[in-house]
């Protein structure tokens, strides 16, 4: 009887270990270790990336001599405080594009979970047969590097001195900035009502802006209240304009009689730096057949922009804002190095888009503002 309990515990532990191994995809990894097909090769590589086993993943590359291991890791782990440094590869789907006896192309849809929500990436990977096994040919990064230099930056910076606690009554604070909602358009989407428009900082000081909306029914009763959350560029410099979007899920336009808009502005310390140029903006269809607005961002300053956030407003032929879409860029913006972006546009809206305007919001870990 004395031996039964230890034996029972050992057996249960062993069973649990086996279950855990299966659950963590161990069996699948073992099965794929040989990578007998192009898909298996990509799946194995990405599984190893998913489990942060970069040594094994790197060993699976067909062109290790051309690819630096650190650069390879950075493709998934991020660098310079970019969004990928706050992300992990949650899952991926593969779809074969073309295959011969010696090489193949496999499309990988990577799904990251990040600090700001899900982030999807699509990569077309070339796979080569090397002996009996298939290996991934990793694209060699041709990213240009900025030579060491000094970039003088002398843009304005605004600091705020607030009213002291011991001041007399009547010694008021500096006023909040004047902001104005210049347009608002309510749109019915299949599963929601969306308010889109633009807001301008009319003042001569920077403003931290947030736009909220309350939907009212015919009786003046409040139906729902939402704010623009991150669908807006919050920090607006003097005379800067930002698009905003407010989503009301599970709402119908017919129910709404009135909308109460509220633009709140706070005076904040801010810097006019960095200036980000948005180049080569164009509406196109991406490889997945989706309508996107793509372009590239160029950081003109000497400061690294850790997490760029692109917000685009789309206008119809009457100049009315008909949609606002946004997307976070996975890479950090290094000075003078262009980084491409693409944001989705719903197909039914894309056909009515006459023109568009893009702004870049940015989150910087070492921001002084």
């Amino acid at each position: 009887m004395r031996r039964v309990l230890p034996i029972f515990i050992v057996v249960v532990t062993a069973v649990l270990l086996v279950i855990a191994w299966f659950q963590s995809g161990g069996a699948q990894r073992r099965e794929m270790r040989s990578a007998n097909t192009p898909e298996q090769a990509v799946r194995l590589l990405l599984s190893q990336v998913q489990s942060h086993n970069y040594d094994a993943a790197y060993d699976r590359l067909a062109n290790r001599t051309d690819v630096d291991k650190t650069s390879f890791m950075r493709e998934f782990e991020g660098s310079y405080g970019s969004l990928l440094t706050y992300a992990s590869l949650e899952s991926f789907d593969l779809s074969p594009l073309h295959s011969t006896d010696s090489d193949a192309d496999v499309r990988a849809h990577l799904h990251y979970s990040t600090a700001v929500g899900p982030l999807d990436d699509t990569r077309d990977m070339k796979v080569q047969k090397s002996g009996d096994v298939w290996k991934v040919v990793w694209p060699v990064s041709r990213a240009s590097k900025l030579p060491p230099q000094v970039i003088p930056v002398n843009y304005l910076r605004w600091d705020v001195i607030s009213r002291g606690a011991g001041e007399e009554w009547g010694v008021q604070n500096v006023d909040s900035p004047q902001v104005r909602i210049v347009s608002m358009n309510a749109i019915q989407r299949p599963d929601s009502v969306v308010l889109v428009g633009e807001v301008v900082n009319e003042d001569s000081v920077p403003a931290y802006v947030n736009v909220g909306a309350t939907l009212l029914d015919a009786g003046g009763k409040e139906l729902a209240q939402e704010s623009s959350f991150d669908k807006i560029s919050h920090v607006l410099l003097p005379k800067q304009v930002t698009p905003y979007r407010i989503d009301f899920p599970n709402m119908r336009l017919e129910k709404i009689k009135n909308v109460r808009m509220d633009a709140k502005a706070l005076l904040v310390a801010a810097s006019a730096d960095p200036v980000i140029e948005i180049n080569q903006q164009k509406m196109e269809t991406d490889p997945l057949g989706k309508k996107v607005l793509s372009g590239s961002l160029l950081n003109q300053s000497g400061q690294i922009v850790n997490i760029p956030h692109v917000i685009a407003a789309y206008y119809d032929s009457n100049g009315k804002v008909i949609w606002v879409s946004d997307g976070y860029v996975a890479q950090a913006l290094l000075p003078q190095i262009p980084v491409s972006f693409a944001v989705d546009v719903p197909p039914d809206i894309a056909k009515n888009v006459q023109t568009y305007r893009v702004v870049v919001n940015h989150y910087d870990t070492n921001s002084q503002s």
Binding site: W158, G170, Q178, S204, L237, P238, I278
Partner: protein, 285 residues
């Protein structure tokens, strides 16, 4: 039976005749000491309940009770109560604000575009030394001192403790001092008059190596004031490569940006809701 009723009535009448009494002046000024006279005899407790304070002290009924000025700082209705062995009696009196000697000055907004009619609101609240609002009409002198200019003043009488003026902002940018004066009080606020929206926003383009350097003329409002540095000017270029937009803050009066151009390009400029001229440039030129 008649005797049984008559005796307590007589006792009550005699007792009331000897009961404590309290008499205060009908009104006084904040911060002024007063004397409250009492009647009766023996030990008593004196309560003074004001709009913002309450005090209690042991007194001798029949003697005058001195109330210090600092017990009467707040204007309003006070109740004085005297409780002796024979019961409590009370009286009330009013403390009026003292002479006007302080001002609360609210000037709004702290920044105003130039040339805005009635753009500045100035409200003065009249107080005495003890922060009581002085309701009696008082003459207040409002003054405006533009940067590098002469003081202009006007007098207004307060109504219910408040006096106000609306002032139009000047056509010239700069800080303006707005003051109000009463008695020994003199309060000053500073309003920054800033350039209004850009007027006649114009750009020009010149070759800079492979790119075009696009820059604005000095950006000014319609009164000729320079729009402050840091104000964003949006440049948009459309060519065969697509559209390029850059939000550039004004630096030293102008905003400039370098843009690559492919083929024919159209460049536009805007600042806030104000648009400027358009340029047609060509990469080959």
């Amino acid at each position: 039976m008649k005797t049984l009723i008559a005796v307590p009535v007589v006792v009550a009448v005699v007792a009331s005749a000897l009961a404590s009494e309290i008499h205060a002046p009908a009104q006084t000024s904040a911060g002024s000491a007063i004397s409250i006279s009492t009647g009766g005899s023996g030990d008593a407790t004196f309560y003074l309940i004001g709009p913002a304070s309450a005090t209690k002290k042991k007194v001798q009924a029949g003697s005058d009770i001195g109330v210090d000025g600092d017990e009467l700082d707040n204007s309003g209705r006070y109740i004085a109560i005297l409780c002796a062995s024979d019961g409590c009696t009370s009286t009330s009196f009013f403390v009026n604000p003292a002479a006007a000697n302080r001002l609360g000055l609210l000037v709004h907004p702290s920044r105003v575009p130039t040339g805005k009619a009635n753009g500045i609101s100035t409200v003065a609240f009249v107080f005495d030394n003890f922060h009581n609002l002085v309701l009696k009409p008082q003459p207040i002198k409002f003054s405006i001192t533009p940067k590098g200019g002469k003081e202009v003043s006007a007098s207004r009488e307060s109504q219910n403790g408040v006096a106000w003026v609306r002032i139009s902002s000047a056509n010239k940018e700069g800080a303006t001092k707005i003051g109000a004066e009463i008695g020994h009080a003199d309060e000053v606020r500073v309003v920054q008059q800033v350039a209004a929206d850009a007027c006649n926003l114009r750009i020009r383009a010149s070759r800079a190596k492979e790119n075009y350097l696009v820059e604005t003329d000095p950006v000014r409002d319609c009164s000729g004031n320079s729009v402050p540095d840091g104000t964003v000017v949006s440049f948009t270029k459309t060519d065969s490569a697509g559209k390029t937009t850059v939000d550039v803050p004004i630096k030293r009066g102008v905003a400039k940006v370098e843009m690559p151009v492919q083929g024919q390009a159209r460049i536009t400029v805007a600042s806030g809701v104000v648009t400027g001229n358009e340029l047609e440039v060509s990469a080959s030129r």
